[in-house]
Symmetry: C2
């Protein structure tokens, strides 16, 4: 192999290696830091728990969904939630709807805009004993947000709720 051929081979190898690095998934990008929470399979088809609008800097409109264990606990008023209960909070930009307002008698309609993020709370009283039995994760476009301080702030904020709520903000909307 002459020098030119060798250089071309090395260059080709380098390009291949860089391409592989570009398409390979970043490590642990599917699990939240600290808690290792994943975006649950099929969560988008889970039963609705309730809805909310957060004004201020959030400026979002949101839906809270739950898996079967969570929904049963919400409906039957069971607290604390059983291990295996998972709550998914989906948020979208809060925006007015000129299309709806053109039909309604007055400007009044606010709808879900582009998705903001999904926050997931997983109940496991042993694994997450230090945070009241709950592990947390936040996901944007299906990927875990790797900001450790952000995920810690989930736990810190939920811990401010009183004990009888089992650190859950949402009540079931019948």
């Amino acid at each position: 192999m002459n020098r030119v051929a060798l250089s071309a081979t090395l260059l080709g190898g380098l390009v291949l290696a860089l391409s592989a690095a570009a398409v390979a998934p970043e490590p642990h990008r599917d699990r939240s830091p600290i808690f290792g929470v994943k975006l649950p399979h099929g969560y988008r088809d889970w039963t609705l728990i309730s809805v909310a609008h957060e004004a201020g800097s959030n400026n979002d409109i949101r839906a809270i969904l739950g898996n079967r264990l969570a929904v049963r606990a919400f409906r039957e008023g069971i607290r604390p939630f059983p291990d295996g209960a998972i709550i998914a909070r989906l948020a979208w930009r809060y925006q007015s709807s000129p299309r709806n307002d053109a039909v309604f008698p007055a400007p009044q309609s606010f709808v879900a805009g582009p998705p903001v993020n999904v926050q997931v709370s997983v109940k496991d009283s042993r694994l997450y004993a230090a945070t009241g039995g709950w592990g947390y994760g936040q996901f944007e476009s299906g990927r875990a947000n790797m900001d450790r301080a952000l995920v810690q702030s989930c736990a810190a904020c939920h811990a401010k709720l009183d004990n009888k709520a089992d650190r859950v903000f949402t009540d079931y909307a019948p």
Copy 2:
């Protein structure tokens, strides 16, 4: 039978008849007028399509759920919706949450209060040909609202939307 006994018997019969009338279900109270739409079994576990807030005189926060046919059409952008698609719009009073606001950095949280009503749209292109293939109903506490003008106003309002929306206000929120 003497006169007193006869009167007592007649009176007793009348009381029984009135009692029966009081407990008997009103006819067709489970179906909307004009369209005959029922509250679909199991709708509360259907998949979420989107959420919205109607301000003004509505002052509600709402979730739009769909059965499998409706959800597939929303996700795949299929218009018109196929026969059998059903959309359920659940509304609750829009109210601030002092409990959440006590935890958040600023007053910002609006949540679902008591339920207002459920509106149901059923696609059947032959049965409801006169109203673009959609039949409508409104339900309070699980019972059909029997106000014919109200149900007609559902159809009239949805008809104002352009054809490519197939008379549906909601877009799917991913």
